[in-house]
Amino acid sequence: MHSCYWPSPEEEYKRETLSKYLHSTDSDWYKRRLTGVVFLVLTAFLVLIARVFYLQVIEGNELRRLSENNCIRLQNIDPSRGLIFDRNGKLLVDNRPSFDLNIILKDAKPVEHTIETLSQYIDVPATELMSKISRNKGISSYTPILLKQDIGRDALAAIEVHKYNLPGIVVSVKPRRHYIYKQSAAHLIGYLGEISSDELKSGKYSAYRAGDYIGKFGVEKTYEGLLRGKRGGRQVEVNATGRVVRVLKTVESFPGHNVYLSIDYLLQKKAEELLEGLAGAIIAMEPATGQILAMASSPAFDQNAFVDGMSHEQWDSLVSNPFRPMENKAVNAEYPPASVYKIVTAIACLEEGIIDANTSFYCPGHYKCGNRVFRCWEKRGHNKVNVVKALAESCDVFFYQVGQKLGVDRLAWYARACGLGSATGIDLDHEAKGLIPTAAWKRARTGIGWQLGETLSVAIGQGYNLTTPLQMMTLISGIANGGIRYKPLILRKVETAEGEIVNENNSKVTGRLPVSQRTLEIVRKGLWETVNKRKGTAWIAHVDDVDISGKTGTAQLVSRTGSNDNASIDKANKLNHLKPHAWFVAYAPSKEPQIAVVVIVEHGEHGSSAAAPLARELITTYLLKDKKG
């Protein structure tokens, strides 16, 4: 019995099967059905033939005419890209019209003559123009070939006047990105570039075509989907010379959304001025919301050069510059955290009960561990030191000792809970993760077990530790706001071109610092004394009008441990590229902080002298402006 047996036996009994039926020669059951099918097929073919007849005979002349010059063409309507504003609505990035010269070969007869005439008006040798045309061999002669982008207004006027001598030359207007304040917030805003063939092939950009500009870096890249808008187009009929005689159909383009960043342009500009001539980064953030107020990375680059096209030399000088202008040092660069890390060590040992606010150690200027001597930056020593004084005067010996008691793995746990060693989640590409070493990490990495001496280095932020300035920002703003870690926000709100709010970016809590209220107060006292006590390492940042708290850091690039280390440091200081990086993290006012600032100056030598004054300037600019306002 067959498995496809469906009807019940009774039903089957009542029926004659088709096989039986077919075998009885007198039956033509299926033959009648086939006759019906033939009739249907004939009707269908009649319809097809009637349609061919209609198109080729009745409409034939008209359609032949349309085909002669390929009269029906498509034209793009590029959407205008969304604008970028600062938090107060100050326009930072807009679009300007760019007049591009194209040639349509089929309409430009004779081509050589047209090109020669054209080259007189636009200051480009005819041979160069011809080579552009020959490069596009093989494409349809109705497709416009780009001759020159962004011709000036004078050239445009000349071409408009002489357009009857220039058959086939078409000027197209395209919106072009314009970064109003040259080099300002270049790393944050980023730039546009022509879409690459790899990007087109990746399938992620299905609505894009070759020649389109897309965000390649910074906000332009992250918010590409918001800024982009939607392309439109036109079906047009053109005459024999290629001029549009009739628009048949139009699909409107939709402009992209306008984006309001959280940065304050004036503060951003101030931060950039402070970094002028230095390599480094400054970040300012609202501790209570996580909104970034300024993010500067120095040296910067001119974003317009990316859109307008740059020469090979310009590009080479950008990439080969030893100060890495193409890197957003606030987010993409990793540095040893140095003494700023003592905040984490202090939190860990207070929370673990290894010390309390009054526990004191004696600092003679060095600490002996095993048979090695670890020095304090202050050769004369700090005498009796408790945790507040250790933070304020950045006593290394104090933290060597508590670090030794903590052990590297416990310390690493606290560091991670403070947000170090992992990305903050900011809406920018290529965020660096940093590195928080553990014993297991080192074994996996080098195959060698952890050495006690390394714990001491790690406890003062040297050794394997690496952090980004942005991670330092989440740490210091967490101290400032009472222990909350926010995701750093760069976007404030998004509006349609008509001004309707699409979305407002609300603060997002990503975690809490592993601190009790009591520990927090102790640490804050230490940070306050750093700036406001004469012996504090950042006394230089002290001002009368504003109550600032902070922590300095001096990231040694040459190990300070070892026997004849002082000599090597002195030697290193003479070589600029081995000079330590200078850190300063701060917030103000100390009570109810409104701004947190992180400064790193590469090879700036001392956190106190190179970084702290910059933070002081930025903070006073921000807070005193507020008072005035």
Binding site: W6, R33, V37, V52, S67, S140
Partner: protein, 366 residues
């Protein structure tokens, strides 16, 4: 043991039609690759190879008794379905659609072969269950399952054109073997009711996509533009055509997929009304001949198999040509024999081989 009647009954006209239509295809493709800058010359030589490979497949398809396909129908079906699953896993493709399986230096499109598998498996099922009163709903459950599996797999690729073809072929075969009257009414009524219900649950963009599919004018920059260009190409051929290799619309690459789905526009532009109608008549003769094979076969599997094959050729011709003339929604359906593509050509060659097979063995039925 060789029977002389096999030669006496051999249908030379079917073979000639296959050869002639295949020749039409090569000529049109030659024009399309010579004039059009978009299609590389290589494609023409590839198709030439496929043409001869197709002929070999055609011969293989009539060498042994078609009843073998009845016996092995389920194996063929399972094999083709696994190829479809293979496409979803290892498939290659362009423009986001995964349709090809790569085997060394050539690749095949299993969705084409699945059409034959579906025709065979349905002929096998219906030849055992069809009866004078018609199939009941209960008897339609199995065919439904047999169709829905390849349908879903092909929609996933996505290849809407072939998926629709499968439904049309299967539907034609089912209606041909007759559905019981009450069941037929149920099907129609439930279909009519479910359409607005489904519509209600669709998302806005899905609705927009369906509306554009039904009315290309809603997409004047994409499909709508292609249809206009295709109509201009066809119409500009007028009565006698612009002549071999003289088509301008084709040369300017304004037709999308000019060598696959839109090949008829190339032909109609260069050969005009005369060429188009001659080709249509050849297709018509082929279809009538296919129905004639079904008519003369006195055994249900062969009859239903022939009807299924003829339905496939008919629907592809009707939909493809209707589509390029702006009579029908634009779906990716190839024109048998004419469109570029090895899998499509081999499939239709196998189909002709099967028709010849059924025709030459009609005397064997007791």
């Amino acid at each position: 043991m060789f029977d002389r009647r096999l030669v006496q009954n051999f249908d030379w006209s079917l073979l000639s039609l296959a050869l002639i239509l295949g020749f039409f295809g090569l000529v049109t493709l030659y024009s399309s690759v010579t004039a059009g800058a978009q299609v590389p010359q290589m494609e023409y030589y590839k198709q030439l190879v496929w043409y001869f490979v197709g002929l070999i497949f055609l011969v293989i398809s009539f060498l042994f008794n078609y009843k073998t396909f009845d016996r092995w129908g389920h194996i063929i079906y399972i094999l083709c379905i696994s190829l479809l699953v293979g496409v979803l896993i290892f498939g290659e493709g362009s423009k986001g659609a995964m349709r090809w399986l790569k085997f060394g230096f050539f690749s095949i499109q299993p969705s084409e072969l699945v059409k034959i598998a579906v025709i065979i498996i349905l002929a096998r099922y219906y030849s055992k269950h069809a009866n004078t009163t018609g199939l009941t709903l209960r008897e339609l459950i199995n065919p439904f399952l047999l169709i829905i599996i390849p349908f879903v797999l092909i929609v996933k690729q996505p290849d809407l054109g072939t998926a629709i073809m499968i439904v049309l072929i299967a539907g034609s075969m089912t209606v041909f073997v007759k559905i019981e009257r009450r069941s037929f009414l149920y099907l129609i009524v439930s279909g009519v009711i479910s359409i607005p219900l489904v519509w209600f649950f669709l998302r806005e963009y899905q609705k927009a996509r369906i509306l554009t599919f039904l009315d290309p004018d809603r997409d004047p920059l994409g499909t709508g533009y292609h249809i206009i260009q295709s109509k201009i190409a066809i119409g500009s051929g007028m009565i006698s055509g612009k002549g071999f290799l003289k088509g301008t619309q084709n040369a300017l690459s304004f037709l999308p997929e000019q060598h696959t789905d839109f090949i008829f526009s190339v032909l109609a532009e260069e050969w005009g009304l005369i060429g188009s109608v001659i080709m249509l008549i050849f297709f018509l003769i082929l279809i009538i001949k296919g129905l004639n094979v079904a008519y003369r076969c006195r055994e249900p599997f062969g009859t239903i198999l022939s009807v299924g094959i003829t339905a496939m050729i008919f629907w592809q011709v009707f939909i493809n040509i209707g589509m390029v003339m702006g009579l029908m929604p634009v779906v990716g359906v190839t024109l048998p024999f004419i469109s570029y593509g090895g899998s499509s050509l081999i499939t239709v060659m196998i189909c002709i081989g099967l028709l010849i097979n059924v025709s030459m063995r009609r005397f064997m039925v007791e």
